[in-house]
Symmetry: C2
C-alpha cells in the first residue's frame, strides 16, 4: 500500500487515523498563548524528580499515560512506540518508555523527531504491520541548556538569534481506524547543509531544509500552494521563519497567508525567549496540543506539519563543523463530510 | 501485509531481499579472524580525515558507496536510508549520509541499531512503500572511547568485563525483489532494565534483553529452538554470551549448538579486547561481512540476528542510573530450492 508520488513523498491510501493525542508542558509554556490547549502544565521544573533528566523522562511517561487514557486503550493494545529526544544517547526516552514494555524504536531527528516518528508510525500502520502505534518526543529546557550550552548557574547571555528549548512532551496514538484527523501524505527530508556554523542561529541552518521539504511536497503531490489551511514549520523561530518565507517565494511557493512556525507560536514576545521555542517538544506539543485540537474541531481541515531538526552536536560545533539540517513533513487532513 | 504472530513478532509475507551488503573496518578488526570477509580494511584510524568523528562519517559514506556499487544501483534508486551511530546526536551519521541526498530516518538503538534499521527498512519495503532502502550503522573505537570513557591519551586501565568498540561501518541494501537472503521475521525488543549500573559490564546489562527478545521470538513464531543454523547476538561479549546461554536455558530454550555472539566473533582472544567487541558497527560488520556471505554461499540457510543495545549515556551513569537495554531480532533465510 501507499502510493509513491516522487522521490521524497508517498500518499498513504488507508489514511491512518490520529486516534488520540496529548501534550504536557512546563511552567513557561503554560504561561504562553497556547496554554489552554495543553493537557497539563507542570510548575515544578524537576517534576518531583531529583534531576532534570529524570523530569524529562517523567514528561514522556505521563504523556504516554495520558494518550492511552484519552485513546481508551492499554499498553498491550499498542504494537510499537516510535520515540526520541535531544539528550545524548536519547536517555530521556529510554528511561521514560521503559516501564510501558511496548516494543520500541528509538529515533534521533533532533527537533524534527515528532514528524519522523509520525512518518514511520503511520507507514507501519499503512502497511498493515500494526493496528496502533504511539509516536512521541520530549525536551526539557534545563537538561538541554546543560548539555548543549552552559550550566544554568553560569547565567550566560543569550544572543538575539537564540531559541528557548520547550519543556514538555507531546505525542499521538495512530491507528488504522477511527474518526480523527488522518495522515494523508508523508514527505521525508534529506539532509540539507548550507554551511551555517553558528549553533545560536539554528533557524538559519534549518530554514533551507524546511524549504527543501516543502518544495518537494508541493512539487511531488502536485497540490496547489493554497491547498492547506495551515502550513506549520517547527521550530525555525522568528528569524528562521522569515528566511523560510523568503526562500519559498524564490521557489515560486507562496504560503504566507497560511504559514506559521511552532517556535513562534508557543511563547509570546513578552516571555523573553528571543527567537522563540525549539526542542523536540516544540512542534510535538504545539501539534499534539493546539493543532490537533483545531483540526478535530474543524477550525482547520488540512494541515502540513513540517518539523525541522538541526543535526549537530556540541562536539561537531567545537570542531568547527557546519550544521546539517533536516525537515520531515506530514500532511494531516480531516475527512471530507 | 505482514502477519502479526504475537506482541513483538511479525512475519513479512513478501520476504524482502537483502540485495547487497558491505562492511568496511579498521586495522584491529582487519587483524581479527573475520578479516577476509570485510570489503575493505582501513589502516589509518583517521581515514585521512582530521578527527576521529570525521573518520567515522567517512566509514559510513564509503560503505554506502560500496553497497550502491555492489547492488548496481545509484542513490536515486534508494527511497530511504535508515541509519544511526553511537555519537552524541548521531553526528557521525548526519555528516556521513549528508552527501547522498537520500531521504533519511535517523535512529538511535545503541549497538542494536543495525537490527532496528533492518527491521524498519524491511517493514517499509514489505508495506510497499519503498522499492529499495539502505540500512547502515557505524562506530569508531577512538570517537567512542573519548565520548563514553576517557581520552585515549589518558591511558586508563580496562576492567576485564569491558568490550572494545569496533571501528567500521556495515550496511545492507534491502529491496522487494531478487535472489539474496530474505528477511522473514522481525521481533522488536522492548526495554529491559535489570538494574545493572556498571557501564564496564554492558554484557550483563544487555544479556537479559537478548534473552527476552529470543524467548519472544521462539514463543511467538512457534519455531523449534533448532530451527536456525545460527542464532547470533551482538554484542554481548564473552561474559554476556555465557549469561545469555544460561538465562535462555532457564526459559527452556536451548540454542547452545548454534549460538554465537558478534562481540566474541570479531576479535581473537590474543588481540587483548577483554570481553570482545561492541559498538553499532560490531553486529553490523559481522552481519554485513561474515554472516551474509555464509548465507549467500548457503553454508547456513537460516539465521537469527539479535542485535543488542545498552541505552545509557555517560550522564545517566554518573547520575547512578541503571542501564536500560534492548534487543531487536531479525530472522534472515535463504530461499528453499
Amino acid at each position: 500500500m501507499g502510493t509513491r508520488l516522487g522521490k521524497q513523498t508517498i500518499r498513504l491510501d488507508s489514511r491512518p487515523v490520529i486516534q488520540a493525542w496529548a501534550a504536557i508542558v512546563g511552567a513557561k509554556e503554560g504561561q504562553g498563548p497556547l496554554r489552554r490547549y495543553f493537557d497539563e502544565v507542570v510548575e515544578d521544573e524537576y517534576y518531583g524528580e531529583k534531576s532534570f533528566e529524570k523530569a524529562e523522562s517523567k514528561f514522556i511517561r505521563e504523556t504516554i499515560s495520558k494518550i492511552l487514557m484519552k485513546g481508551n486503550v492499554s499498553t498491550g493494545d499498542i504494537q510499537y512506540l516510535f520515540a526520541g529526544d535531544l539528550l545524548n544517547q536519547c536517555t530521556a526516552t529510554s528511561f521514560g518508555v521503559s516501564a510501558s514494555e511496548i516494543p520500541y524504536f528509538g529515533l534521533y531527528g533532533a527537533c524534527s523527531t515528532i514528524a519522523e516518528s509520525i512518518s514511520l508510525g503511520s507507514m507501519v500502520v499503512e502497511g498493515g504491520m500494526a493496528e496502533r502505534v504511539i509516536c512521541i518526543t520530549s525536551s526539557h529546557f534545563c537538561s538541554a541548556e546543560k548539555q548543549f550550552r552552559y550550566p544554568l548557574e553560569f547565567g550566560n547571555q543569550r544572543p538575539p538569534t537564540s531559541q528557548w528549548t520547550v519543556t514538555g512532551s507531546g505525542g499521538v496514538l495512530i491507528g488504522s481506524a477511527g474518526d480523527g484527523p488522518r495522515i494523508v501524505h508523508i514527505t521525508t527530508g534529506k539532509i540539507v547543509d548550507m554551511g551555517i556554523t553558528d549553533a545560536n542561529d539554528m533557524g538559519a541552518a534549518m530554514a533551507p531544509a524546511a524549504v527543501d521539504t516543502i518544495t518537494a511536497h508541493f512539487t511531488e503531490t502536485g497540490l496547489p500552494d493554497d491547498y492547506y489551511d495551515m502550513v506549520v514549520t517547527g521550530d525555525l523561530g522568528e528569524h528562521g521563519k522569515n528566511l523560510c518565507i523568503k526562500l519559498l517565494e524564490e521557489n515560486g511557493i507562496n504560503i504566507k497567508h497560511c504559514y506559521n512556525d511552532c517556535g513562534t507560536m508557543i511563547y509570546s514576545p513578552e516571555q523573553g525567549t528571543d527567537c522563540g521555542g525549539s526542542g523536540c517538544a516544540c512542534s510535538a506539543t504545539v501539534f499534539a496540543g493546539y493543532l490537533l485540537e483545531k483540526l478535530s474541531r474543524r477550525e482547520i481541515n488540512r494541515l502540513l506539519l513540517v518539523a525541522t531538526g538541526a543535526l549537530h552536536s556540541p562536539t561537531s560545533i567545537q570542531q568547527g563543523e557546519s550544521i546539517p539540517a533536516i525537515a520531515h513533513a506530514v500532511g494531516v487532513e480531516m475527512q471530507q463530510n
